[in-house]
Each structure stands twice: as structure tokens, then as C-alpha cells.
Symmetry: C2
Subunit: 227 residues, 2 copies
């Protein structure tokens, strides 16, 4: 499910890859920031060779960008990029759910329900996004399409950190919970189209929230500049 290839975890380059990936996804590295190969190598106690391997993989993941003769920089995610990723998420998650429902067993429903119950009981906003992720994983996983699940996981890892604060805090628990319950019920009923339709609305609402938030931020920047 992780999206990150599992093989060869022992190699030196993998530590570098993992660390850099984590720092970029967590937003601890600014977009556009130069990734000095010698620095990274020294920090990890290795040479430049494994560092470059790690950077090339991150380049393929669109997390870093190589500028000819000037090395790698952290790729910045534009507002448009983010919205594009959310549209792709709609496609991937809806398809996964559609394929998953016919394979769901009673235990899947129970697990999903348990997550929703915990969701409901938890007063901790920080847990919400974790529980949200688990619910989505839980209902999509039965699709059995590993590559699809891996893709979804990749996008979640990239998109999640960027929208979490922006959405979870603002939206509250009411609406998403209602949609989650509705999706689960449709899954129980084997109502594929209903479930997918609700999931689609669910994600598209998120996208609209993000878009609105970005709009406001943009507006703020403009008016601030005018002052």
C-alpha cells in the first residue's frame, strides 16, 4: 500500500531517498530549495553516488527537479498542480471503490464501521485525518488492484499534507461523517453506483473547499500588495 517500492531497503541510497522524501512531503523543505549533493551525502555519511540515485527517483516522483548543471531543487507544487491531483484522486478512488464493493466481506463492513465509531468518539482533530485515511483505505482495499492502491497511496501522501490543515479544520466533522456513513451503507447494500456517486461528491467537495481556500489566500495576497 505504501507506494514506495519495498525492495532493496538495505541499500545506502534508500536511507537517503526515504529521508529526503519524508522531508519534502512533510513540507520541511521549501519548494525551489537547492538540494546540495555534497551536503546531503555528508549528512548521511555516504558519497554522492547513492545521493544522486535517490534524487533521480524523487525526480521520477515529481518531488524534485533537476536543472541542467545546477543540480536538484525541491519541486514546488502550484495551486493548479494540487487541484489536478485532486481530480486524479476522484478518478482513482471512485474506480477502486467500484471494483472493491463486489469483493467486500462482512468483516470489511465491520472494520469500516469501527473506524467510523472511533472517528465519532475522537475529540482530537489531529486524529481525524488519520482516521479518514484509514476509512478510505479500508473501503478501497478490497478492490485487489495493487497498482491502483499504490497509485492512490502515492497521491494521498502528496496531497494529504497540503490540504489537511486547510480542510479538516474548516469543514468540521458533520458533513464528511454523514458522507462516510452513507458510503458504507451503500457498500453494504451492494449499491455500487450510489456508493461511487457519494464518494465522488465527497472528494469533489474537498476539492471545492481547497479551491476556495486557495482563492481566498490569493485574494489576500493581492489586497495585501495593494496596501
Amino acid at each position: 500500500m505504501s507506494g514506495v517500492p519495498k525492495e532493496d531497503r538495505s541499500a545506502a541510497f534508500f536511507d537517503v531517498y526515504r529521508a529526503l522524501r519524508e522531508e519534502i512531503l512533510a513540507g520541511r523543505l521549501e519548494g525551489g530549495q537547492a538540494l546540495r549533493q555534497d551536503d546531503i551525502a555528508q549528512r548521511h555519511g555516504v558519497s554522492k553516488v547513492p545521493v544522486r540515485e535517490a534524487l533521480r527517483r524523487l525526480e521520477m516522483e515529481n518531488l524534485v527537479e533537476f536543472l541542467p548543471r545546477r543540480g536538484a531543487i525541491v519541486r514546488s507544487v502550484s495551486d493548479d498542480d494540487l487541484l489536478e491531483m485532486l481530480d486524479i484522486r476522484v478518478a482513482l478512488e471512485c474506480r477502486a471503490l467500484e471494483l472493491a464493493i463486489p469483493h467486500m466481506a462482512e468483516s470489511d463492513f465491520e472494520l469500516a464501521q469501527a473506524i467510523l465509531d472511533e472517528y465519532q468518539a475522537s475529540p482530537d482533530k489531529k486524529r481525524w485525518s488519520e482516521l479518514n485515511r484509514r476509512f478510505h483505505t479500508c473501503i478501497l482495499e478490497p478492490c485487489g488492484n495493487r497498482q491502483l492502491l499504490s497509485l492512490i497511496s502515492d497521491f494521498e501522501q502528496r496531497v494529504g499534507p497540503l490540504i489537511r490543515l486547510r480542510v479538516t479544520e474548516v469543514t468540521g466533522l458533520e458533513r464528511p461523517m454523514k458522507e462516510h456513513r452513507q458510503i458504507l451503507q451503500s457498500c453494504r447494500d451492494g449499491a455500487v453506483e450510489d456508493a461511487v456517486a457519494t464518494l465522488r461528491t465527497h472528494i469533489e467537495t474537498t476539492k471545492r473547499e481547497v479551491a476556495a481556500s486557495l482563492r481566498r489566500r490569493h485574494l489576500q495576497k493581492i489586497t495585501a500588495a495593494d496596501q
Copy 2:
């Protein structure tokens, strides 16, 4: 549209990357075959460093696999992998079409029609897959989602070569052409749901054809083993 990142085309590693990618996608390298780093380096007149960079990128693309302390091998695509990719294609292309239709201009319809006309006129089976690809690209491109188009292109490049002989030759021109015309007409009418439904059927039929073909091949292997 190519899926292959465009930056840094000048670097030595890029030639290696490009060449290996092409060889793997074209099927000129068997699945499981070892990719000897020194050999590749010598063939391209470079050292192992850029070769390893190329291999790491291909690993991220799922085209090669690193075995600890045994280097890289060409990743073989199982029957299940192939069917999984076709399911993902359904998700991606349907979403792209859905997003594309509201943005289509008259010139898009004309271009699509021109491709279909050429399709119809061409007696050359080898051209069919090329024209098919161009038609799909043409109706999806207006979606404006670069990442989505790039993903679609990646999957097309991986899946295409594996199913072309298997499907195009067998299926003939009748059914796909009829579906293509129907999709285009729905696009003209702005009938998003109809267009998407037809496209979905279109790809799912392909998937069923591929699955059937694989089933027969598998059966043949079993009966051959029994002899």
C-alpha cells in the same frame, strides 16, 4: 504528454535511461533478464554512475527491479498486472474525457473526425493502433490536466505494446470504429455521461478481449503440458 520527464535531456544518464526504457517497452528485453551495469555502461560509452541513475528511475517506473546485491532485472509484467493496468486506464481515461468535454472546441471535433476518417480509409493494420492512440489523445487532451494526461500516456506506453497484437488483429475495425463515432457524437452533444459510458465500455471490452486471449493462452499451456 510523453510521461518521460523533459528536463536534463543533455545529461549522459538520460541517453541510457531513454534507450533502456525503449528496449523494455518494445519488449526487446525479456522479463527477468539481468541488466549488467558494466555492459550497459560500455555499450553507451559511459561509466556505471549514470547507468545506475537510469536504472533507479526505471525502478520507480516499475520497469526494472533491483534485487539486493544482484543488481537490476527487467520487471516482468504478469497477466494480472496487465489486467490491473487496464482497470486503471478505465479510471484515468474516463475521468479525463469527463473533464475534457466541457472544454472542447469545434476544432477539437474536427480533428477527431479527421482522425476517424483516416482510420476508416486506412487498410494498414499497423496504422490502426497509431490512429487509435491519436484519437484517444485528441479527445482527452482538452481536459487540461497535465498530470492526468501524463499518467494516461505512461499507461498507454506500457500497456499498448502488450495488447496491440493481441487485440487489434483479432477484433477488427467494426466495433471500435462504431464506438469511436458514438463517443465523438456524444462529445459534440455535450452528453458527458453518454460519452463516458461508451468510452468505459470501449476500454472494458478491450480488457475482456485481453483477458480472453490470456485465458486461451494459459489453457493452451496447460494442455500442452499434459501431452
